[in-house]
């Protein structure tokens, strides 16, 4: 079933179509929510809240652009709101205002699977994590991130570079650990 028909059926209130739309995107969207939260439970809460918004606002989808991208955007916004509401996340959201220019290392080849990479992203300090997700994965510009989070684009840029460096270090360490384990196994 094409997305347009699926959306129309959902708008008519057909439960089967709603279920179908959910199943089509739920796994991918849980992956999105997972990257912004610290636990699978929180990620599922965001997913649930996000899908309720999707169905309630489906009439605003104008069939321009991918339906998946539209839903993903809702999930990201829902996740940001979730983080804002939860004190435990807020306390972790620190953004330096210094304009640091860390050395950008060479791009390493990522030899991790998606889950391992997502888990590493989730271990970033939460401020870094959000900015890294928004910029590197979702594709927001630093200006947009600045507007979204109420910080300057310079802060967003420096935080991103810090997150990136940290993540690259962890990826390299993780890869070498895996190598060691592999050889140790032999």
């Amino acid at each position: 079933m094409d997305h347009q028909k699926l959306v129309k059926d959902c708008l008519k209130g057909k439960v089967k179509a709603q279920r179908e739309l959910y199943e089509l995107f739920a796994k991918n969207m849980l992956g999105v929510c997972y990257r912004y939260t610290r636990s699978i439970k929180d990620a599922e809460d965001v997913l649930q809240e996000g899908f309720i918004k999707v169905f309630r606002n489906l009439d605003q989808y104008k069939y321009e652009g991918e339906l998946g991208a539209w839903i993903r955007r809702i999930m990201v916004n829902t996740a940001l709101n979730f983080l804002k509401r939860n004190r435990k996340y807020q306390q972790e959201m620190y953004f330096t205002q210094e304009y640091l220019h860390p050395v950008v290392e060479d791009d390493p080849a990522i030899r991790l699977n998606a889950k391992e990479l997502a888990d590493l992203i989730r271990q970033l300090p939460h401020g870094y994590q959000v900015i890294f997700n928004l910029h590197a994965v979702e594709g927001y510009s630093h200006v947009e991130i600045g507007e979204l989070l109420g910080i300057s684009d310079g802060t967003s840029r420096s935080q991103y570079l810090r997150a990136r460096n940290l993540l690259i270090t962890w990826i390299e360490n993780f890869s070498s650990d895996k190598k060691k384990e592999k050889y140790a196994g032999k």
Binding site: I52, I74, P108, P125, A136
Partner: protein, 500 residues
């Protein structure tokens, strides 16, 4: 900018990243959706239920109120417009010489005047007895004036032919006694679970400012992809979609103001809900009287007064200020203030320049002098105008989420500022005169309608559609129930908000 290899790899990996949600997620989503639907159904069932209740209460109230008392004559059955039935009382007490020739007119609900029981007669038969007699000195014969040929069939002829007239009428006939007339206006008128904190503490550079604000926009916010960001074309939404989302965002544009204008036709009915056929159409029954100022006099051939002519609808319009409050995505309330003009037409005869005395039916039939009056007749067309100031309150419900068609319900409280409307009196051979006090100043109206909403080129919202409203209290201050109604086209123009 993350256009390098690392970001590309991250994006690709994350695109493929999928996790299986637990079954409870869908169950909760589904429950939430069903719950909302249920609430919506209950809410919108309440509206028609309330409307029906209001209708029933109003109908009961007006039906009850309009039962005639001893001073009130019955109205004729529905279907007759304008022309009156003239009923002359049968009065054996005051006319002892009345012989077997006198007519008796049947009446289902004839009333006897308590003030003058001697002049009353209880009608029981269902046919006319002794129809051949003609009117002589005293009018002691009940007669019903035919609908047509009012001017041509002068009283004697009419009375002599009353047999046929009466036979054709199975109407309720009212009798009245005493020296009073009945005035008629011619106006006629989330499930939220406490998240477990399994935070992994990472030693990082922590100098920082707290997150100032995260976005409040947790809806489908959208942004087009910039060239300086990673490839995320499939994440893009157009600005148009972004605006559409912003426009529909709850909490925005909650109130708006504009102009309210209606134009159409107004007329009067003898019951506030003519479609229910609870009462007659605008009709009037009156009794001739022994008025010292004219009309019937003892001892001679008496011409009954010329009955009032038919009231026809006239132009009506309303203009005012309105403010609308959005209470949910599809429903809103409105309130405002407006000037309302209503008119009706009536045929009148020649002007009478001399002062005449009439008895005001709205004021216990006290006699009053009128300086300017018109004979009843068909010579000229007169426009009865009514000027109101009104406070309308409305509820508007968009029937369909996608199609901007609204169902409107409105109540309105109006005050009659002025009127030139004529009041009919059967005294003096049937005259029309002006008397502001004959009208109820306060008017309560209920109305309904449909409207279609669209945007103008300049960004204003134009809401347009048919409208129907009825006044629920009588226009007249006397016992005659006459209700003003309006049907026409309503337009509301809401101006765009100025950009700051």
């Amino acid at each position: 900018m993350p256009a390098n290899e690392f970001e590309k790899q991250v994006q690709e990996k994350m695109e493929d990243f999928r996790l299986n949600p637990s079954a409870s997620v869908w169950k909760n989503v589904e429950d939430e959706l069903r719950e909302k639907k249920r609430k919506r159904v209950i809410f919108f069932l309440l509206i028609p239920a309330a409307a029906i209740l209001l209708l029933i209460v109003s109908v009961y109230y007006f039906n009850h109120e309009s039962k005639p008392d001893n001073h009130q004559v019955d109205s004729l059955p529905a279907g007759r417009q304008g022309r009156e039935s003239i009923v002359k009382k049968h009065d054996p007490a005051s006319n002892p010489e009345q012989g077997p020739d006198s007519h008796r007119v049947d009446s289902r609900e004839s009333k006897v005047d308590s003030k003058n029981p001697a002049s009353s007669i209880k009608h029981q038969a269902s046919s006319i007895q002794h129809p051949a007699s003609s009117t002589t000195d005293n009018i002691n014969v009940a007669a019903i004036r035919p609908l047509a040929g009012r001017k041509k069939n002068l009283p004697v002829a009419e009375n002599s032919n009353s047999d046929n007239s009466l036979k054709n009428k199975q109407d309720k006939v009212a009798t009245t006694t005493g020296n009073f007339d009945v005035s008629i206006t011619q106006p006629a008128t989330q499930k939220k679970t406490e998240p477990k904190n399994d935070v992994v503490k990472v030693n990082s550079e922590p100098v920082a400012t707290e997150l100032k604000k995260a976005t409040d926009n947790d809806q489908a916010g959208a942004a087009s992809v910039n060239t300086d960001k990673p490839e995320a074309k499939n994440l893009a939404m157009t600005n148009e979609a972004k605006q559409a989302v912003a426009k529909n965002e709850p909490g925005k544009n909650k109130t708006r103001w504009g102009l309210d204008f209606s134009i159409g036709v107004s007329s009067i009915q003898s019951n506030p809900f003519p479609m229910l056929k609870l009462g007659g159409a605008m009709d009037a029954v009156y009794a001739p009287q022994n008025n010292p100022n004219g009309g019937s006099a003892s001892g001679g051939g008496v011409a009954p007064p010329i009955p009032p002519s038919e009231v026809t609808g006239g132009l009506s319009f309303r203009i005012g200020y309105t403010r609308e409050w959005q209470v949910s995505e599809r429903s809103s309330f409105s309130g405002g203030v407006q000037y309302a003009y209503a008119s009706t037409h009536v045929k009148i005869g020649s002007a009478v320049d001399s002062a005449l005395r009439v008895s005001a039916s709205y004021n216990n039939f006290t006699s009053m002098e009128v300086n300017k009056s018109y004979r009843a007749g068909d010579d000229d067309k007169y426009t009865n105008s009514f000027h109101y100031v009104a406070i309308p309150l409305g509820y508007h419900w968009q029937i369909n989420k996608k199609i901007p068609v609204q169902l409107n319900f409105e109540v309105s409280l109006g005050y009659l500022l002025s009127s030139n409307a004529l009041v009919y009196s059967s005294s003096n051979g049937g005259i029309y005169y002006q008397d502001d006090d004959a009208f109820n100043k306060m008017q309560f109206a209920i109305g309904t309608g449909l409207s279609y909403s669209f945007k103008t080129k300049k960004g204003a919202d134009l809401v347009i559609g048919p409208q129907l409203s009825f006044n629920t209290n009588s226009l007249l201050a006397n016992d005659h129930k006459q209700y003003l109604w309006f049907g026409g086209l309503n337009t509301r123009l809401f101006f765009p908000k100025k950009k700051k």
